[in-house]
């Protein structure tokens, strides 16, 4: 058989034949040093990605050794290739069991740690005794390793884990005198609880709480993170308990490891909800300096911290109001850090610090990284709308910037000024300057913005008809969002200057209805047409109605999502600003799909290995329960037919394009329940979403653009989210524009 293997292998990669042969000779050599060398070479080949699974039996012969290094290497080999020779693993069991009783704790721990990593049924059957013993081992090093091993076993065979009472043993270990054992037990239990909540593996009682708080001060940094994360999830019994937790956790703010600091911030932030306002104020004050210090950590960690600070600021806008300077970008910050710092600077801008901020933003707008420059320009606009005192300075800064004539700066300035005009219509003096750059604008959002401005101020722009007729001429070549703007602007122009624009409006309506097959555009055109064919005064009242000013263009998350994410601080969810179910995949399904892919991969590996393949082939006809393939499966399939990996793929969303670039709105969701939440999010979406949507369609998809079609962009900022749902139906009656009535049409 072995020769056959070599022959087949040799056919594909000639040089490998010699190598495998040589390695095999070394592995069975009579000299210990030659064997050891051969093992090292085998591992080397494995590292290089060569398949050395054919050597399995020979490597296995070297497992019983007193040389610790050699043992480790053999174990490592076993972990990697056990799946391809599940039946041979039984030969290793004896050594493992012996090693788990070795006088040296290092070896006992190594044995139990490795056994848990050999994910083969035969091995699991023999794990029970060694695990039971090592969980009670005298050495804390062995106990802490065994604690994690319970989680490994649960992952492979939950029933066996529960039946043997390992969960109870772990729960007892929370009271272990050694802090690291405590931490690992908590880790294992919380993982088990996460995968199988019905086990109620980790239930925190006042007594365990006390133990956790004790261990917190003594264990390693990673143990602290575990314990703190557990504390964050713990629902306090009463205010006193919350107070106690906050008090005990606060010293961790001084820990040198940023993830400990972040975990501590999370605990205090969650538990202080019950405290009295005075204490809350004190804790928030205490939180600021450590948060600031996080900005000095490694850039990747900084990024996580910044994304989290963003969330914290949305909940408590004032915590860092004095710390603006800390967020100034360094010239060598990575781009993802820079963009995130900009977000945060805008959030903490107030009427005391805007001067400083503006001169800094202007500096950034003269940099060379296009994304960063655009974001800086946009930030200037956000500051203008956020802080009334700053608006004049902002507008002047923007005018300075437009004078640089850098194409993308000009476009961004136009977009930003459009929003400024929606809040402060008084800055119409800048319009002639903007109009000079019409030919520069090639992005639909920028073109749309300028056209909107021209329509809105048609009566004050002498050559408005000229400008717009230029756009009407190329109407059919424009993007949808620009077309919508042209349509609205021309109608506005006609209503303001009816005398000489009848031809123009007819031309555009004609094109939009008969030549165009986009329903959004056609529908809007028909509505305008009908309005215009009736009483022009009514049309005027509707189309030219006074629109309330927008209040902000800083995006924020819907309150429900924000609340959810604040409980997820420092996790991936808090970095993506998306609920976990949107990227983890729905419950067991998403996880299973990936696990299945992992199995598929191993099966494929096995298929490349003739020995295993032949075993697999023999087994494939028989019942699955007995087949060797079963050994390759890490989990049961719930009896259902295994869905293909591709199917699983669709259940989980695609890679999120850099979260910082997407803005506040969550992307189109994949998971059904997440979907609902996110669609709600669209309504809850703060003004930025709506205002941006009108022109940018900020990735919110068709839903948004159809709203944009109703010229919501010109509409008010939506009222607080609570009233959102009632908004469409109830507000139609007021002095509001026709937009709301039009909404009713849907």
């Amino acid at each position: 058989m072995a020769q056959a293997v070599n022959r087949i292998r040799g056919a594909f990669a000639p040089p490998r034949k010699g190598e495998t042969f040589e390695l095999r000779a070394g592995l069975v050599s009579q000299y210990a040093y030659e064997r050891k060398e051969a093992i090292q070479k085998t591992i080397m080949a494995m590292t290089l990605g060569k398949d050395v699974s054919a050597l399995f039996p020979d490597v296995l012969k070297n497992i019983a050794t007193s040389d610790l290094d050699q043992k480790k290497l053999v174990y490592l080999y076993l972990m990697n290739y056990a799946k391809s020779h599940p039946d041979l693993c039984i030969l290793a069991v004896n050594t493992f069991v012996q090693d788990s009783e070795d006088p040296n704790p290092l070896i006992r721990a190594l044995a139990i740690r490795t056994m848990g990593c050999i994910r083969v049924d035969k091995m699991i059957d023999y794990m029970e005794e060694p695990l039971r013993k090592t969980l009670r081992d005298e050495s804390p090093y062995v106990r802490k390793t065994a604690a994690i091993c319970v989680a490994k076993l649960f992952d492979l065979n939950p029933t066996m884990c529960i039946e043997n009472g390992f969960l109870e043993t772990l729960q007892e270990l929370i009271g272990d005198p050694n802090p690291m054992v405590v931490a690992n037990s908590v880790t294992a239990l919380s993982e088990i609880t996460e995968t199988a909540p019905e086990t109620k593996a980790l239930v925190i009682t006042p007594a365990t709480l006390k133990k956790l708080l004790m261990a917190l001060n003594e264990c390693t940094e990673w143990g602290r993170v575990t314990i703190l994360s557990t504390l964050a999830d713990y629902p306090p019994q009463d205010v006193k308990e919350s107070e106690h937790i906050c008090e005990r956790v606060t010293p961790q703010f001084q820990h040198v490891n940023p993830s400990v600091v972040l975990a501590a911030v999370k605990v205090v932030f969650i538990h202080m909800k019950l405290l009295n306002p005075e204490l809350v104020r004190q804790y928030l004050k205490k939180m600021a300096p450590p948060l600031v210090t996080l900005i000095a950590s490694a850039p990747e960690v900084q990024y996580v911290a910044l994304r989290n600070i963003d969330l914290l600021l949305q909940a408590k806008p004032d915590i860092l109001s004095k710390e603006l300077r800390v967020f100034f970008c360094k010239y060598n910050d990575p781009p993802y850090v820079k963009l995130q710092k900009l977000e945060i600077m805008v959030r903490i801008a107030n009427n005391k610090n805007f001067d400083q901020l503006l001169s800094e933003l202007k500096e950034y707008a003269l940099e060379v990284d296009m994304d960063f420059v655009k974001r800086a320009v946009r930030a200037i606009g956000q500051v203008a709308i956020k802080i009334e005192e700053a608006s004049e300075k902002c507008v002047n800064t923007l005018l300075d910037l437009i004078a640089t004539k850098v194409n993308y700066v000009v476009q961004e300035v136009v977009i930003v000024i459009k929003d400024i005009l929606r809040k402060y219509p008084g800055y119409e003096g800048v319009i002639p300057t903007l109009c000079k750059y019409i030919d520069e604008l090639d992005e639909p959002e920028a073109r749309g913005a300028l056209i909107w401005i021209v329509g809105e101020y048609a009566e004050k722009i002498n050559n408005a008809d000229e400008i717009l007729s230029g756009f009407v001429d190329v109407f059919m070549e424009e993007f949808t969002q620009t077309q919508l703007q042209i349509l609205t602007a021309v109608v506005k122009l006609f209503l303001k200057k009816p005398s000489n624009n009848q031809g123009l409006v007819q031309k555009v309506l004609q094109q939009a209805t008969s030549d165009n097959d986009n329903p959004d555009i056609r529908d809007r055109a028909y509505i305008y047409w009908r309005l215009l064919s009736g009483d022009l005064e009514v049309a005027k009242n509707i189309i030219l109605s006074q629109k309330p000013a927008i209040t902000t263009t800083v995006s924020s998350l819907p309150p429900a999502l924000l609340e959810q994410l604040l409980a997820e601080l420092s996790t991936l969810a808090s970095v993506y600003h998306k609920p976990p179910e949107s990227f983890v995949g729905k419950g067991r399904y998403g996880a299973d799909a990936i696990q299945r892919a992992a199995i598929q991969e191993q099966r494929q590996d096995a298929a490349e290995n003739p020995i295993a393949a032949s075993v697999a082939a023999a087994a494939s006809g028989s019942n699955g329960a007995q087949s060797n393939i079963e050994n390759l499966l890490d989990i049961d399939f719930d009896g259902g037919a295994p869905a293909s990996a591709e199917q699983g793929g669709t259940a989980t969303p695609d890679r999120m394009s850099s979260p910082s670039a997407v803005g506040g709105l969550p992307g189109a969701p994949a998971a059904p329940s997440g979907g609902m939440a996110d669609i709600m999010g669209l309504f809850d979406a703060p003004p930025a979403g709506v205002s941006g949507g009108g022109f940018g369609g900020m990735g919110a998809g068709d839903m948004m653009s159809s709203f944009a079609a109703m010229d919501v962009s010109g509409n008010s900022a939506p009222p607080p989210p609570g009233q959102q749902l009632g908004h469409a139906s109830s507000s139609g009656s007021g002095q509001k524009s026709g937009n709301d009535d039009l909404l009713g049409l849907f």
């Binding site: 290092l106 804390p140 091993c149 961790q252 001084q254 040198v256 940023p258 975990a263 600031v292 990747e300």
Partner: protein, 448 residues
Amino acid sequence: MASAIFFLDLKGKTLLARNYRGDIPMSAVEKFPILLSEAEEESSAVPPCFSHEGINYLYIRHNNLYLLALTKRNTNAAEILLFLHKIVEVFTEYFKALEEESIRDNFVIIYELLDEMMDFGYPQTTESKILQEYITQESHKLEIQARPPIAVTNAVSWRSEGIRYRKNEVFLDVIESLNLLVSSNGNVLRSEILGAIKMKCYLSGMPELRLGLNDKVMFETTGRTTRGKAIEMEDVKFHQCVRLSRFENDRTISFIPPDGEFELMSYRLNTQVKPLIWVECVVESHSGSRIEYMLKARAQFKRRSTANNVEIVVPVPDDADTPRFRTNVGSVHYAPEQSAIVWKIKQFGGGKEFLMRAELGLPSVRGDDEHGGGMTGGFGGSMGGVGAPGKGAKRPIQVKFEIPYFTTSGIQVRYLKITEPKLQYPSLPWVRYITQSGDIAVRLPDAV
């Protein structure tokens, strides 16, 4: 929690991998370079973690390596990214430098370390001093088999018992680095002192140490008064040996130190400091054919102190040539590889002021609006493709220096008490102070 850790070269090829949980296909790593380059095309800002088809990729870059962790859960991102940095730290201590070569040369020990540092995706022991006690390059025979140091799981996980020194000494270095951002018109936009107290500890047994500083909050809480100046530290971070709850209660810094070198604490002060070495710069461009820099550097600290190894790096256009310099002190040279001129002054006395003029030629044919140090270099292009990250970014003037026997903040070590209850030896603490430049950036003014 991480399902697997990978070491990749810059092309994304796997050099070494460790699968901790077997719950994700290891082939997912092959998508990483593709996803990365796709994301880079979309935006210049690719974050250090992203998700694709249910698998989350968290990575850092170090030298010519990517360290990548994969997970399918909603993992603690800060923890995993830090753990990757910790791997770098530990491996660097083991192999001097962590790069492609050292991965290839040390795979056996790397597997061992990875096995010890993380179990089932959860970080375990990352203290390199302790790891070095039982994971070494030499092999172990049965007689002298390594055992896990008690310290691994001890409450004092950073120090082993039974350490002996003939002479018991402690060296304390108080090092402050100054971070400064100065606008082109000379306003200090941001200033920050990052301080660190580093220790070299050669003490026997399990010594108990207590450090006293002129900490303002401590004086206030204890109601004591002091003659000297007290300083107010914004945020203090301690080595894990320091008892945090004790500090929280009465600001006492008490600890059992690790053996050898370590950083005991770091602190941050936001107080406005005047730049210790003040640099003013005027840039003159002469009809696009040559460019002239006039620099004035002034030492704004006490006359008694001296700044050593002062280095002022002035960015110049990439295509400048024929440099000519004039200065009354130090030496100037042109460093074309970093497109800068470097002015070095060995010793810069307090209160002194020096001048330097540099003149560089510029090629006659050039882009329309480029001037001074890549100030706006790269602009003027059409849409897209302009924002090549890092390239031509607006570089500031950088200043480097070192001032011994001096701290900007005025922090002082009042005492260091050392007690070892069992051995009761006499011991000697030594203290040194030094101020360094951290990240000092003076924005270059526009050319006139």
